[in-house]
Structures are given as C-alpha cells and as structure tokens.
C-alpha cells in the first residue's frame, strides 16, 4: 500500500487526498518510510523533519475533514526543498560547512508559498556547495548518488532534489537553476526539471549564487506535476525587485493541452550548435529519436543556428563567479555561521580570512578567486564587461530564433551521468556539463528538461531540453507534455525503471569535522 503511494504522481496523490480516499498523513508517512529505506544509499537529504511534516499533513487533513476546499491543487503532497531556500524551522546550509546548522530567522517566499498551499515539506536536499557544481560532489556533507547507478553522480547542483524525486522519496522537489542546476540533474536522473523565466519565481530567501541568473523551479516525475508546482511557487513578489509583475503563464493548462498529443502547427527549432565534439553518441541518438517523435506529433521541425551560443559557457564562467565573489562576501563569521580562529588576540580581518578559508570548499574558493579577478581594476572590461556584451548577443540570437520557431530543442546535457570522482579534479570538464543549459540562464527565458529515454550506449537517462521565450513557459510545457505522452505510450514511463534501491546500503557519508567553535 505505502509503496504504491510513493509510485503515484503528485496530481494523483492530491486527487486521492482531496477526495479523501487517503490522507495527507498516510501519504507523508509512506514517503518518510521510503526515505528511511533508501536514503542511506542515495543521500538525497541533508535534513528530514518527520514530525513537522506529519503535523503539516495533519493540518491539511483537518481542513479537508471540516469540508473546507484544499488550499491548492497540491495540498497534502510531500515535497523536498533544496537546502538553498531559507526555512525558519529547519537548518539552511547550502551544502556548505560555513553555514552548518544555521537556522534562518525567516522563510523564503518559495517556502512560504509552499506552506500556504498546504504542500508538505519533508526536508532539505543535498546540493553542490552554494549551488556551484554539476555533480553534487561539492557538498560539504558528502555526495548524493544517482538512483539509476549508485556509482554515478545525480548531476548538480540540485542533485539531491533530482535524486529524491527519481528514487520515489518524494513526488516533488524544488531546485534552483543558475546554469542548469535543475535541468541537468533532471536529465541524468530521468526526471522533469524546469527553469522558469527569470523573474517568474521569487528569489527572496534563495541564498544567492549568481543573482542575475539564479531561478528556483520545480522538479517532478511528470510534466503536469511540474506545472502544478510551478503555479504554486510562481508569481509576483514585492520582496524581489526582479520579480515580474504579471500572471504566472498558464502552465498546468498547457501541460493538460499538450497531453492530448497534438503538436500540429507548432514550430520547433533544433539548435545546430548543440552537437558535435564532446557529445556522447548515445545522447545524440536519443535526442534524434525524440526529435522524430516531435515530428510525428505534427510539429514542424527546422534547424536553427545561434552562433553566439558558442560563447555562452565562457561568458557564464565570468559573470557567475563575479557575482558569486560579491554574494558570498557576507559569509565572514561575524553575524552567523561558522567562526574560526577567534582566540581573542586575532583581528576581525584575520578571523574572517581563517573562517572563509576553513568554511568554503575548493570549488567555491576557486570561483570566488576567479570572480575577484574578473571584476578587478584593469581586467573588468576584458572579462566581465565583454561577457555582458556576449550576453546581449545571446539574447539577440534567441530573439531572432523565436521569430522563426515557437520553441527550441536540444539535448539537456552532452552526456549521461558520469562516475563519482571522474571530473572532480578537472574543473573544465565539469563545466562542460552545462554547455546546453547556460544560454537560457544568460538570456533569462524559460526552459525545461523532460526524460527522453535511455542512452543506448550506457542505459542511463537522457534529457530533452525545450526552450521557450521569456514569459512563454507554457509553450515548453505543452511541447514537453505531448512528447511525454508519446514516449510513455511507446516505452512506458521512464521513472518506473529505476532500480529498487531498498537493498542498497552505503556507509553514511562522512561529514567533515568542523573546526572552530
């Protein structure tokens, strides 16, 4: 019975809870049991609060028992929150030692909206430290494993959220996407991940990595579930100056419309820059099959060239470290978090430096140094300034492309999940994971990744990326939903092919001893 509950979609679970065929408490308990059974192997969670989750679920049940309508279409459904969103009742660590145990005195807007919608937050998920990485190996609390193959990474930075959904620990999760951190993990874990239009989901309470690129978004196992969650967390927020004061695009409606399986008249552009060297052959074959399926659904497919996309990766690796070097300056041990070396003789300046040295991992330090360099006098124009001009070119390429087509498609990531440790020592190889996802972050428009079967060379999940213009998120949902239905009809739902995992027991990840206090 409980196993069955964890296999359902969020929409189905909500339907049963609201019809009072089951209760939110029962659903929550089933997922807590599943976490207990498999998270030793997967390590998707950094924190689980069973009592608070059951209390939140009971509140939903009470409300329904009183005959009140559910607070939202997802009321009572469990969810996992990436540990980068502020939560008053749970620690918020961003996968960093510098914030170990920190409890924010406030809730992020996304957190608040989830609570108000009656969504049951089970806990916080693992991530690359401060969202910097593509494998979740940069977490100070040990890596998350890919449920498809525990020797492989779940992608990153939101590997915890994607793995939790793929391992049926939750039907829904929240991620953040700065250069692909929702979409790439979704691609390599066989889940659906969406990066909404920049400004579509409030960033208030989302601990910033790169402010002009960061965007929270849904992770789910179906396109409709992602859309329902998108509508819960999306929309204008006066606490975020970059929030767009417009209605959330009708993404759930688009997902339902798309599920009818008709893409007649929809113009789809295949971005010609996203193939060739560095792309795994099995990924490209799966992608080509996906494109022919879109054609079969009636879509008009053409090839579109966006030449500036070749410069997106370098531009991203100048802009995002620059912003991060500034955003992460506040972690200095003075007001919250770790403090190292305060022996009452050292100065504040020395203690700050020792704290940051001990509190940040190698990738974070590397990017802080890179950003400090790119912004410093004498280099600003050649690096940061030029990267911002490239950003303009990318926006123009998107604009030109969207005059010819309704959506653009590409593989979400150049390869399937790689092995743990494989790219840790090679930052450049790691950075290539986000080759296809980065242009969208730089331009601020919407994109999602939907499962596109398994690569025929390693049997691991491949993602199809669908990109849409800013504020036209619904277009991506429509195309993805149509594709999802067609693919499921041919092959069966991909997510259900994930290994059982209950027999797997890896030693608990070692959490590095935190020096200082």
């Amino acid at each position: 019975m409980t196993t069955e509950l964890t296999r359902l979609s969020a929409a189905d679970l909500a339907g049963r809870i609201h019809a009072r065929d089951t209760t939110a408490v029962e659903v929550t308990q089933a997922h807590l049991d599943r976490i207990a059974a498999v998270d030793r192997a997967v390590h998707a969670f950094l924190y689980v609060d069973a009592d608070a989750a059951l209390a939140a679920a009971a509140a939903v049940d009470n409300r329904l028992r009183c005959g009140d309508p559910p607070a939202s279409p997802l009321a009572g459904v469990p969810l996992a929150l990436k540990d980068v969103f502020a939560t008053v009742d749970m620690p918020t660590t961003c996968g960093s030692r510098i914030l170990q145990g920190w409890r924010p005195p406030y809730d992020a807007t996304v957190t608040r909206r989830l609570r108000e919608a009656g969504v049951v937050i089970l806990g916080k998920t693992n991530m690359d430290e401060f969202a910097m990485g593509s494998s979740t190996e940069n977490s100070a609390y040990g890596p998350t494993r890919n449920p498809w193959d525990l020797d492989r990474v779940p992608g990153g930075s939101g590997g915890g959220s994607a793995a939790a959904v793929a391992a049926f620990q939750v039907p829904l999760a929240i991620g953040t996407d700065t250069g692909g951190s929702i979409r790439q993990p979704s691609a390599v874990t066989g889940t659906v991940g969406v990066k909404p239009t920049y400004g579509g989901v409030s960033r208030y309470g989302l601990v910033a990595f790169s402010s002009s690129l960061d965007q929270g978004g849904p992770v789910a196992r179906t396109v409709l579930d992602a859309a329902l969650l998108h509508e819960v967390i999306g929309g204008y927020d006066a606490l975020d100056s970059t929030s767009i004061d417009a209605p959330v695009p009708p993404v759930a409606q688009a997902a339902r419309a798309g599920a009818a399986g008709d893409l007649a008249g929809v113009r789809v552009g295949v971005v010609s820059q996203f193939r060739g060297e560095g792309y795994q052959p099995g990924v490209l074959r799966a992608f080509d099959v996906a494109v022919s399926r879109l054609r079969e659904l009636g879509a008009h497919v053409i090839e579109v060239s966006c030449r500036s996309f070749d410069h997106a990766l370098p531009a991203y690796y100048l802009i995002s470290p620059s912003e991060c070097s500034s955003n992460l300056a506040r972690f200095d041990g003075m007001r919250y978090g770790l403090r190292v070396g305060d022996d009452s003789s050292r100065s504040a300046e020395e203690v700050m430096s020792l704290t940051r040295e001990a509190g940040f991992g190698p990738e974070v330090k590397r990017r802080i140094m890179l950003g400090t360099y790119a912004l410093s006098a004498g280099y600003y124009d050649a690096y940061y300034g030029q990267a911002q001009r490239v950003r303009t070119l990318i926006i123009r390429d998107f604009a030109a492309a969207f005059e010819r087509v309704d959506v653009l498609v590409s593989p979400t990531a150049p390869t399937t999940a790689f092995r743990l440790g494989e790219r840790v020592g090679d930052p450049l190889a790691m950075y290539l994971s986000d080759l296809c996802t980065i242009p969208v972050n730089l331009a601020g428009n919407a994109a999602l990744s939907v499962p596109a079967g398994l690569s025929d060379d390693d049997g691991l999940p491949v993602g199809l990326q669908v990109m849409a213009p800013a504020l036209a998120d619904d277009r991506a949902y429509r195309v993805a939903a149509a594709y999802e239905v067609a693919r499921n009809a041919a092959d069966g739902p991909l997510a259900h092919r994930v290994p059982d995992l209950t027999e797997d027991r890896l030693p608990p990840p070692s959490i590095a001893e935190v020096v200082g206090r």
């Binding site: 100056s241 919250y336 100065s347 140094m369 601020g444």
Partner: protein, 98 residues
Amino acid sequence: MPTISRDEVAHLARLARLAVTEEELDLFASQLEMILTSVARVSEVAAVDIPPTSHAVGLTNVFRADAPHPGLTQQQALSGAYATEDGRFRVPRILDES
C-alpha cells in the same frame, strides 16, 4: 593569454579574505590560468558596439512605498551569532576604520 602568478593569487586571496595555504597558491595559480585561458575567447567576440546586459529581463523603476514593515526582534537578529554582548554582535577587534 592570461598568466597568473603566485603573487597575483595572493593579492586576490587578500581581497577575497581567504587565508589560502601555500599549496593553494600553486593550485589556484594553475587552475585560474587554465580557466581564464579557456574563457579568454569572450574577448575575441567582436562586440565593442554591443551594449552590455546586466539584467536579463528589462524592468525599470521598481520601488516600494516608504511604509514601515515589522522586521526581526533583537533576539531573532542575534540568533545566528557566534557571540553577543549587550544586544550587539560581538566580533574580534577591528584593525582600523576603512
């Protein structure tokens, strides 16, 4: 082709308040050089006459009304602090006014 010296890395680390080790100086020097070399091609893009984009979505004039809004209590404000004294954050001695 950017070359990053150990001294330059040390300078950056000071600016960024990172008490880097000797080994890190070498490691960062080689890695920064490698990364900067790989991203240097942005400067080859002919874009002098292209305006820079700092904000992807072109909003302007976003304001709030000048109306007070309750914030945190002193206890909440200090809740994450390593040390406090008399309602204030206690920090090591500060070297000088900047």
